[in-house]
């Protein structure tokens, strides 16, 4: 059997070129750059209104993608990529069609088109780059914004400090339909990341990739903290890495022990107002999720340790 793809043997050719206009330390740029390296040049990209549209593709007449790039309205990513694929099918061409939307364009605005495409099991890849607010327009809350976070529409006042609701569990919404593949990815778990993207590339049917992409500007963190944030999100349970193949959920990385959520919060300015009670509320929400996700009665990862993001490969955990 061939060795699994990892960051050392993955393709080197870039399809999101240098010169794109993202902020320094942009998580979206890291995710999209590496997804495009793996998908290769036989790909068509669709991006709705989002940061990626502005910095990567849609500053007409310029584009940072060297593959065909399209954009249309905010809410119809699922519908447009279905249409692009249908067009290629009619022409008899086998092209990978990928739609890359932000969390606003997926959790809130694009949900119905996404659900439609998933229900029809269209042969496309849908990527949600999740930076937990509408960052392109200056940090407004979205369905993805976590509890307690500051945004311009959930400001920190005297009575109410930050967002009151919890983050929507989008993966449950998407995987409630019988789609080919769904996975959560983190840019800090690099081999896990490339393996999931490669798996998605080689499958047929609707494939959904949910990437956590820290945002230095909106999270009020240091640009060089992007990696630490992505890593700490997994270690604290704010983010978990798993995949769903034909309805079967499998954990791809299990943290050794749960770190307190404050280690994740303290790296960011958007949480610095949080009171003890709010941190406790968030922590107990995470604990509930953690127990459900990493259920102690779940079957252990026997013989699958090599698949773990930090296991097996020589270049990790040096």
């Amino acid at each position: 059997m061939d060795r699994k793809m990892n960051i050392r043997n993955m393709p080197s050719q870039d399809h999101l070129l240098c010169g794109q206009g993202a902020c320094a330390g942009c998580g979206v740029a890291i995710a999209v750059r590496n997804i495009m390296r793996i998908l290769g040049e036989n790909t068509t990209v669709y991006v709705p209104a989002s940061c990626l549209l502005i910095f990567g593709g849609g500053m007409y007449p310029h584009s940072a993608f060297d593959v065909p790039f399209l954009y249309s309205a905010f809410e119809n990513t699922g519908a447009v990529i279905s249409g692009i694929k249908a067009g290629y099918r009619r022409q008899g061409k086998d092209v990978t069609v990928i739609g890359i939307a932000g969390d606003g364009g997926t959790f809130d605005i694009g949900l119905q088109a996404l659900a439609g495409a998933a229900e029809r099991n269209e042969d496309v890849i849908y990527v949600c780059v999740d930076n937990e607010a509408y960052m392109n327009t200056g940090t407004q809350r979205s369905g993805s914004t976590p509890f307690g976070a500051w945004t311009t529409t959930t400001p920190v006042g005297k009575k109410i400090k930050g967002k009151r609701g919890f983050k929507k569990d989008l993966m449950s919404v998407v995987t409630s339909q019988d789609i080919a593949y769904a996975a959560t990815l983190s840019i800090a778990h690099m081999n896990d990341f490339v393996q999931k993207v490669e798996k998605a590339k080689n499958l047929k049917g609707f494939r959904f990739l949910h990437v956590m992409t820290p945002c230095a500007s909106g999270w009020k963190s240091d640009p060089s903290a992007t990696f630490d944030l992505a890593n700490m999100a997994v270690e604290t349970g704010m983010w978990s890495l798993y995949e769903v193949v034909d309805g079967e959920v499998s954990i791809t990385y299990r943290p050794k022990e749960m770190r307190p959520v404050t280690e994740y919060l303290k790296l960011q300015g958007r949480f610095k107002h949080m009171s003890k009670e709010d941190v406790d509320t968030l922590q107990s929400w995470i604990c509930k999720k953690w127990n459900k996700r990493y259920c102690p009665t779940a079957p252990p990862l026997e013989g699958k340790e090599d698949d773990l993001a930090y296991g097996g490969d020589g270049c990790e955990g040096v």
Binding site: R8, Q20, A24, C26, M190, P223, T226, D228, C315
Partner: protein, 302 residues
């Protein structure tokens, strides 16, 4: 006084908008009328941005962008190379430039009264971050007497104190004072040619069907897929990576994590850094397990 117009040229994240608002507030504290607003565009942290302010004794009805400023504020010296910053500067107008050079060594493109201040050093020293807006405000008080330093300091206390706490307000206000004391006055050079930026947008007759554009060249610039690579984004950051390949174990983590793709690799895993595009985020140094990459501030001696 007549209407006094100010144009700020900065980079996203340096606080150009905040500086414009603060100078307007300082004028209001002195009983004048003022307005401040940013250039509306798709700006990202590090990208060239503009902000405007107007100050007058009478009510201001003009809401347009400032094209002929009395004062020009250049918050990042590298903008002189890529933006037509000095365009439209009024006769007798002055410029404030963030630079370690003396005014006579700065080539603005027009001969004008000029104040230079090393605001980046002051900001790094006092605020521990390269956010230069408050230092620049101090230098602006030095360049012209349309507002007093005291009002600027008070406006900084009001604005920053409210947003970031009183301590941050005091720190920023003392950064303004330090910049006022350390700025140098003189006259700048006008040798540089001010060129309007190249731009191509199709008229309706030229618009291709479905606005689809192939990779091609229009008006001397690349357009279509991949054409953004003509933006050399390397001027955005304040530091660059220094790579020591003797320590490198070729784990490729930096290659994966670089958001700009400025790290190129060959088939044997050897890495090459293309700092023409590096925005200085420091992620490559962060993920390196062997400390083979260090971030160094640009222009600093070894």
């Amino acid at each position: 006084m007549n209407m006094y117009e100010i144009r700020f040229h900065g980079r996203g994240g340096q606080g150009a908008v905040m500086a414009a608002q603060t100078i307007a507030e300082a004028a209001i504290l002195e009983g004048k009328q003022a307005q401040a607003f940013p250039f509306f565009g798709a700006e990202r942290r590090g990208a060239p941005v503009m902000a405007f302010a107007r100050i007058d004794d009478k009510r201001i009805c003009d809401r347009t962008q400032v094209s002929e400023p009395d004062m020009l504020v250049v918050m990042d010296e590298s903008l002189l190379e890529i933006e037509p910053v000095a365009a439209g500067l009024k006769k007798g107008g002055c410029a404030v430039v963030n630079s370690a050079l003396a005014p006579s060594e700065i080539d603005l493109g027009v001969v004008a009264r000029c104040v230079s201040v090393d605001a980046t050093s002051i900001a790094l020293e006092m605020l521990k971050a390269p956010i230069v807006n408050t230092s620049i405000l101090g230098a602006m008080a030095r360049a012209d007497d349309f507002v007093k330093l005291e009002s600027i300091q008070q406006a900084i206390m009001n604005r920053f104190g409210e947003k970031l706490g009183e301590k941050a307000g005091r720190l920023n206000s003392s950064a303004a004072k330090a910049a006022f004391d350390r700025s140098r006055e003189g006259t700048c050079k006008g040798e540089r040619k001010i060129q309007r930026k190249n731009a191509w947008l199709p008229t309706w007759q030229e618009t291709p069907p479905g606005v689809a554009l192939p990779r091609t060249t229009k008006a001397g610039m690349a357009v279509g897929p991949g054409s953004m690579s003509q933006n050399l984004t390397g001027s955005w950051g304040v530091s660059n990576p220094i790579y020591d390949d003797s320590k490198c174990i070729k784990c490729q983590r930096c290659w994966f994590i670089c958001p700009e793709g400025c790290i190129r690799r060959s088939d044997d895993g050897a890495l090459r850094f293309d700092i023409r595009y590096c925005k200085g985020c420091g992620l490559c140094a962060k993920v390196c397990p062997k400390d083979a990459i260090a971030m160094k501030r640009k222009g600093a001696s070894a």
